[in-house]
């Protein structure tokens, strides 16, 4: 396989470094179709969200049609097929967060950012969504920024969070840092601090983001 072409034999839309990641991801599965999900995250990290071209490229790598890739991508909420902000703020309004004011947190985030849930601001900086339970019920109400968690917010802290994202524009969002600045009650003692975190609206894991433990 020449470095310029993907397994379908067409010229890859991805850089050589990204192609190398794609090869490493595929090697971790007994069958290459199983790599569809991580490759979709890889495609998102290339473009900031999941574009038609991104899905076509994934199709080439695993040997299925773009329509098949689209059908998979559309099943899952985390593959954003519309332009998504640099910071995706997901506010949990499921039962345990609702009981402790999760709706107020969502409203504060919407109000402070001027972005209703399900939408993105004009400069592509912030997207807001309401989320179902994010596994932080003991630290309710909770939100995630690019899937990095903050537990035990208040509406005022939620507004501060929005202002901070807009003014500081952190390149990497780190959960410990955000929890210190904006959080409160936690589901459990996080204990160990990490360096790094998310660099876009997709989970910081493996080749994505910079999440490394200190």
């Amino acid at each position: 396989m020449s470095p310029q072409t993907n397994p379908a034999g067409t010229t890859s839309r991805w850089s050589e470094a990204t192609q190398q990641r794609a090869r490493e991801i595929i090697a971790r599965y007994p069958q290459k179709r199983s790599a569809v999900m991580p490759l979709l995250y890889l495609a998102m990290s290339e473009n900031g969200w999941l574009t038609e071209e991104g899905m076509a490229e994934v199709a080439d790598w695993v040997g299925i049609t773009p329509a098949q890739v689209q059908s998979v991508a559309s099943f899952y909420t985390m593959y954003k097929r519309e332009r998504t902000g640099t910071y995706l703020i997901s506010c949990c309004t499921s039962i345990s967060c609702m009981l402790l004011g999760g709706d107020d947190i969502l409203h504060a985030v919407e109000d402070e950012s001027g972005v209703p849930h399900g939408e993105t601001d004009a400069d592509g900086e912030i997207s807001v969504e309401h989320a179902e339970c994010i596994g932080a019920c003991g630290g309710a109400p909770a939100v995630q920024v690019n899937y990095e968690l903050i537990e035990g917010l208040t509406p005022e802290k939620a507004r501060e969070l929005v202002r901070w994202l807009r003014s500081d524009k952190p390149e990497v969002v780190n959960p410990d840092d955000m929890q210190d600045r904006f959080g409160g009650q936690r589901s459990f003692d996080w204990a160990i601090r990490e360096e790094g975190g998310a660099t876009g609206p997709y989970p910081a894991f493996g080749p994505f983001g910079t999440g490394r433990e200190s």
Binding site: V36, V62, S71, A140, S187, F188
Partner: protein, 430 residues
């Protein structure tokens, strides 16, 4: 009152480094895996059966029994379910973040018992931090030769792949999870014939076990079956992780022996109700479980059996506590909304029914409810879960649909007056 800890002991005693392989080994880690390398499949399956270990993913099935059903053809696969998305549940997150090697050692034991040479850890997409911790642990175990080819100096190979989900609760259902791992839409498979132990990942025999389930395995081998059973309460052996949330003073994960009462759990362990309020109701085992109320259930023992006899379940161990300021319609609406949102859409009663239930509840909540809405709620529910019995009669491909009616059954059983007050008073009476 303190209770003996098993799977949260290391993280409690060594909070700063319980996730490292150094701490894990210094506290006896990987001894049980070495022991398992010298045991046969039959011996391992027998020990786990004998231990009484029940799966902690919600379905409550005997782990050893499940292993014994594995079809004989090979290759076989092991899949660890870390999709934890049932509202109220956050225990696996703590186990993944704080003691990943304990789970990995359990994976080695389960893999050897089921002759699997490739294991997958499926972690929900919204858990990147737990996934990073687990990947670091996997890398450390590979570096030591505990994973990879020829583990522990034997000729046994074991690869482990950490896989991130895409934000779909239904992928916690084991056959949906397998489809998802194959790169398909995460829709549950029709059963039979696709019980994973017969035909699972790539149509090969596959064992799906929950994170907490396998985290128990090293302890069963270390302490022996009898000591493990002695920790429990009759048929419920070992300990159980409860995720307690809502209107309690001390929310959090609690590893507890079976057989306490709900009163002890809510008032002693979790510190009672906040702000001087009164307990109104609680969900004993995750969003799918029918609710309990103080008059009937506070002094009930917390066991799988007693909870089942009271027509609910311990499920994923999520206890959501609600005080007397909670509107029952609003609570039910949030729970039903979840199932409506997460329905995969394959079965008409689930797809249409959950959306209907959500709409009717919204209508009642906003003060637009009508007298017939109560019957309508029950009618729609009866279409999803025929006869409205417990456990539900299965008419859908998976139990998600029937789970959505639990809140409806609960409000009509215990809070009919409050529902009617919404309808006649043009909105919430609270």
């Amino acid at each position: 009152m303190t209770y003996p800890l098993l799977i949260t002991k290391r993280m409690t005693e060594h909070p700063s480094d319980s996730h490292t392989i150094e701490r894990y080994e210094r506290t006896g880690g990987y001894g049980a895996a070495r022991k398992a390398m010298g045991m046969t499949r039959d011996q391992l399956v027998e020990s786990v059966k004998e231990s009484g270990l029940i799966g902690r993913g919600g379905a409550g099935f005997s782990a050893g029994m499940k292993w014994s059903f594995m079809a004989p053809n090979r290759p076989s696969y092991l899949v660890i379910n870390g999709d934890e998305s049932e509202p109220g549940t956050f225990k696996d997150r703590q186990l993944l973040e704080r003691d990943p090697h304990q789970m990995l050692e359990g994976i080695i034991i389960a893999a050897v018992a089921n002759e699997a040479h490739h294991a997958f850890i499926y972690i929900r997409g919204e858990y990147p931090k737990p996934a990073r911790r687990v990947q670091q642990a996997v890398d450390a175990a590979y570096a030591k030769g505990y994973l990879g080819s020829g583990i522990f100096g034997t000729d046994y190979d074991l690869e482990v792949t950490v896989h991130l989900g895409g934000g779909a609760y239904i992928c916690g259902e084991e056959t949906a999870l397998i489809n998802s791992l194959e790169g398909l839409r995460g829709e549950p498979r029709l059963k039979p014939p696709y019980f994973p132990a017969a035909k699972g990942l790539y149509m090969q025999p596959t064992i799906v076990n929950n994170v907490e389930t396998v985290s128990n395995l090293p302890h069963i081998l270390d302490m022996g079956v009898d000591a493990y059973k002695a920790l429990g309460h009759d048929a419920d052996t070992g300990t159980f992780m409860f995720s307690v949330s809502g209107h309690v003073m001390k929310p959090g994960n609690y590893e507890l022996p079976h057989g306490l009462t709900w009163r002890e759990l809510i008032y002693d362990v979790a510190g009672g109700i906040r702000d001087g309020r009164e307990l109104k109701m609680w969900i004993p085992g995750g969003a799918s479980a029918p609710w309990f109320v103080p008059d009937d259930h506070l002094d009930l023992e917390i066991t799988k059996d007693a909870t089942g006899k009271a027509l609910s379940m311990l499920g994923s161990g999520a206890v959501v506590v609600m005080d007397d300021s909670t509107c029952v319609i609003r609570a039910a609406e949030r729970l039903v909304r979840f199932f409506a949102h997460e329905s995969c859409g394959q079965c008409t009663p689930c797809r249409e029914g959950t959306t209907w239930l959500e709409m009717i509840l919204r209508r009642i909540e906003s003060g637009q409810g009508r007298d017939i809405d109560v019957d309508l709620l029950l009618d729609v529910s009866d279409n999803i879960s025929i006869g409205l019995g417990w456990p539900p009669k299965m008419t859908t491909i998976c139990p998600l649909g029937p789970s959505a009616v639990s809140p409806i059954i609960s409000i009509s059983k215990y809070f009919k007056d409050e529902v009617m007050a919404h309808i006649h008073g043009g909105g919430c009476p609270l």
